[in-house]
């Protein structure tokens, strides 16, 4: 399969192109939020309570063009909050996918190539972990960290805790996929040719086997990015994720949810819509990639 | 043409074209192929991978894999056109009038059903027989293809048979409704040499006893020499040479056939080097102008580069080569003869 085949299948699917455009747009806007955002919503110095609870401009004449999507009870601009929040969600999502991927690929390679007892131990751990939902594993890891360190300290390292927690809860899928591919690849003759030369197993794993198992890993990573973002949002919504001083999309939804009953719907709905759009776009990309790289479906 | 063609042909293929639309343009995989098969005749279709031999077979049994499609020409079975039939109609003909045997016996059988059930089902699809009568016929078929203990083996599952025995079951399955034509695509390729010989002998015997015509598609010239009455040699989607098997094997007319025969190591005289045809068959996207074989041909002339040769009478065969008479019948062609 050549790269041009992938490009062709990309071009011929309008939905995929739309998803890619949406993803790129969200990512670019999110990462440029310090420049693009009209306000810095979490700098207390810039906030004024008199701006509090303004509705979006297009639903009510009370709206103010300074705050196109309205403000929350503290007078923070919703649009700016969403931009910063999306950036944080993306950072957590990408970082935890990288953690899961690194761990999963390493363990999968070792398991598949070495086999025997190493394989048995790694795969049994994976089996056990798979019986718990990922969110439960993440909750557990976060809970353990919370009991070990102080609340204040926890807020400082909350980002790392949540990345680690989500990363650790998603490695199994990578490990299993990589192991499966390695079992196929290691019996191929090019690997035997490398063994005849007398290369060490480590060199063969990294230089020969690894490049040939990256395809499926890439697919899982894309699909998992959406999942990781959702998991972070869920954890933050439950209040065990990122603190409200540093809100991600999930935190924003939680904060808005608290005042939803009083009719200030925009505080929670706009972050929710952004989250849904981001995850949907990323998942559509993942689905396309899976089909494009799967020779059986072409 | 062979003696067998005194009878009206059972299968007529005329100017068959099979093409594959791809995003880089339409590829012509089978290009203007014509041949006949008489009742009781075995026609070997031989060629290297990518020559279009299997596609020709699949087109005849109506099982071209999409996006491949018949783009032109006619296929007639017993005088009736079958290339333009609807899928359901073709399905009835396949099985009843045409049997198919594929390379891998394991994938031709359903692993979940006993071979008896598969045989009886096929028999009852095409013939109106009672359960008991169909079972009797199934046992007879298994006996006929040489499966020992057929009464007991009929209730066994495909995995309980060895490779050779499985291929025999597949042949029995193809024979269920007493077809007039069997299309066998590489029926021996997946089998060990000793089993190959057994399956070839079986095919020959069945063909003789039932006057069934066989189209035998294979890359193995040895199988063709053993089995076929006539042989069509395919190259890059076209028939390069067609004729009685003995003439094609011993007195090839087309330079490609000559090269092909010379490149097979033979017992008897040991040569230091085998005759080799340099290069490889062109991909479908890069078929050269004129004769498709010209870049690899040692005797091509100016005409071969621009004009495509049709099949023309050459000795007792027909060959698609402007140079078929360059060296006289049966003589090895050499560069000097052409230059002279």
């Amino acid at each position: 399969m050549t790269d041009s085949d992938v490009w062709w299948s990309f071009k011929s699917s309008p939905l995929t192109v739309a998803a890619a455009v949406a993803t790129i747009l969200i990512v670019v806007v999110a990462f440029l939020s310090p420049i693009l955002a009209p306000h810095t919503p979490f700098d207390p110095a810039t906030l004024s309570l008199s701006d509090g609870l303004k509705p979006p401009v297009f639903v009510s004449s009370d709206g103010d063009w300074t705050f196109p999507l309205g403000t929350d009870d503290q007078g923070r601009d919703i649009l700016s909050s969403i931009m910063y929040g999306t950036r944080l969600s993306l950072v957590v999502g990408i970082a935890s996918v990288v953690v899961a991927m690194t761990l999963g690929i390493t363990l999968g390679l070792l398991s598949g190539y070495l086999g025997g007892a190493v394989d048995a131990v790694i795969m049994r751990i994976a089996d056990v972990q798979l019986t718990f939902p990922a969110i439960l594993v993440a909750l557990l890891i976060d809970g353990v960290v919370r009991t070990v360190i102080s609340v204040q300290r926890h807020d400082e390292i909350a980002l790392f805790v949540i990345v680690g927690a989500i990363g650790l809860s998603f490695w199994v899928q990578y490990a299993r996929t990589v192991r499966g591919s390695v079992l196929v690849e290691k019996n191929k003759e090019y690997v035997q040719a490398a063994r005849v030369i007398g290369l060490s197993p480590l060199v063969i794993m990294v230089r020969h086997v690894l490049p040939n198992v990256t395809g499926p890993v890439l697919v899982i990573a894309t699909i998992n990015l959406g999942l990781a973002i959702i998991t972070e949002a869920t954890l933050s919504f439950l209040g065990v994720g990122l603190p409200s001083t540093e809100p991600s999309l999930g935190t924003l939804i939680r904060l808005g949810n608290e005042v939803l009953q009083s009719g200030d719907w925009w505080i929670t709905v706009f972050p929710g819509v952004t989250l849904a759009a981001l995850v949907l776009a990323v998942n559509l990309l993942g689905d396309w990639l899976r089909d494009a790289l799967n020779p059986k479906l072409r | 043409m062979a003696a067998a063609s005194n009878n009206p042909p059972l299968l007529e293929v005329r100017n068959l074209r099979v093409e594959f639309p791809t995003r880089r343009g339409t590829l012509l995989a089978v290009d203007d192929v014509s041949f006949d098969i008489a009742p009781g005749e075995v026609l070997g279709v031989v060629g290297e991978s990518g020559a279009g031999k299997s596609l020709t077979g699949n087109a005849i049994i109506g099982l071209l894999e999409p996006p491949g499609r018949i783009a032109g020409g006619e296929i007639r079975l017993e005088g009736r056109r079958i290339d333009n039939l609807a899928y359901e109609e073709m399905r009835k003909i396949r099985g009843a009038r045409i049997g198919a045997i594929f390379q891998d016996p394991l994938t031709s059988l359903n692993p979940l059903y006993s071979v008896g059930r598969q045989l009886i089902e096929t028999i009852q699809t095409h013939l109106s027989l009672s359960n008991a009568a169909a079972r009797t016929r199934a046992i007879d078929l298994l006996k006929e293809v040489g499966i020992p203990g057929a009464e007991m083996r009929i209730d066994h599952y495909p995995h309980q048979f060895s490779g050779g025995m499985r291929q025999r079951v597949v042949i029995a399955l193809a024979l269920c409704a007493g077809p007039r034509l069997i299309v066998a695509d590489e029926p021996t390729t997946a089998l060990d040499v000793s089993i190959q010989a057994q399956i070839i002998a079986l095919l020959k015997r069945l063909c003789r006893e039932h006057q069934t015509a066989v189209m035998l598609v294979t890359h193995d010239m040895g199988v063709i020499a053993e089995t076929a009455d006539r042989v069509a040699v395919m190259y890059a989607g076209r028939v390069a040479e067609i004729g009685p098997v003995r003439d094609v094997v011993k007195h090839a007319q087309h330079p490609y056939t000559k090269g092909l025969m010379g490149s097979i190591p033979s017992l008897g005289v040991r040569h230091e080097r085998l005759t080799q045809i340099d290069g490889a068959m062109p991909r479908l996207t890069e078929i050269p102008k004129g004769c498709a074989f010209n870049p690899r041909c040692t005797v091509h002339g100016a005409r071969c580069l621009v004009e495509r040769p049709e099949l023309m009478t050459a000795g007792s065969s027909r060959a698609a080569c402007w140079r078929h008479d360059a060296g006289g019948v049966g003589q090895p062609i050499s560069k000097e003869m052409v230059d002279a």
Partner: protein, 342 residues
Amino acid sequence: MPDGSQNHFVQLEGLKRYFDVSPPWLVRALEGKPRQIVQAVDGIDIEIAKGETFSLVGESGCGKSTVARLVVGLFPPTDGRIEFDGNDMASRRSRAETASLKRRMQMIFQDPYASLNPRWRVFDIIAEPIRAFGLSKDRADLEKQVGDLLRQVRLTPADGRKYPHEFSGGQRQRISIARALASQPEFLVCDEPTSALDVSVQAQILNLMVDLQRRLQLTYLFISHNLAVVYHISTRVGVMYLGRLVEVAPTETLFRRPKHPYTRMLLDTIPDLDMTGRQRSPVAGEVPSPINPPSGCTFHPRCPFANERCKTERPQALPIEGGTVACHAIEEGRLPVEDRTY
């Protein structure tokens, strides 16, 4: 060529390799199933002289590919010795000494599509052994060596920049050969190197192998199921059946005066391409499972000449007409040796 006094280049002595194909321990314990051992190679003695082509033929499952993999050290033998140019391959030695032995023997594989790493450029594929054994002085020297190797197999140095998928099956097999030659080996193990190729391409590869052997004084262990190819390329031939050697003989002797009934049966399966109408006896039966091979001579259930002794006693290799044959019927003179013509 093979006479006992001479020191052989490659020597296999009582070589055995068993594979455990039992179901997992738990399944065995629960269902009371016994261990299942495949005797893939069951006691083989072969001597290969320098510069010759020794071929192993047999049907699938006879263990010929396992022998190839044992010889190059892809897995260790269960029992027996492999000696290469006087060195016992099993004895412990330093890294450098092991590398210097490994450098001298290489392997060519069957499947031209699986034997080249699809993610590597051809240059890197061929350069790998040179780098691994430290055989080049600098980058320029490496490029020169790879270029020469590509030319040697009738490709061009520019082909080094391409990926394997840009080549046809025959060209890939040339790349595979170039890689095998990169470490300047003396001994090449060729496992069905042409069986995945079309005949016209097969002829190109066989011719190339013959040319290279002459030019580089290579010794080949050639594994194949195709008797015509074996006849064409070999100096001596060993016929394997169910993990054992049934007959070894110089090529002409094996094809003209075959002794073992299995050899005769195999020769009968060669298609008659010359259309001479040669008479051939029908072949019966199939190769039994190597998990529970028949007792005595493993060929006895298919052998028309088998008697009680064949069912119980394993025949030993007897020297005869420059080769060896393991058959009671030949030993007892029950089976006359006849000349064959083709």
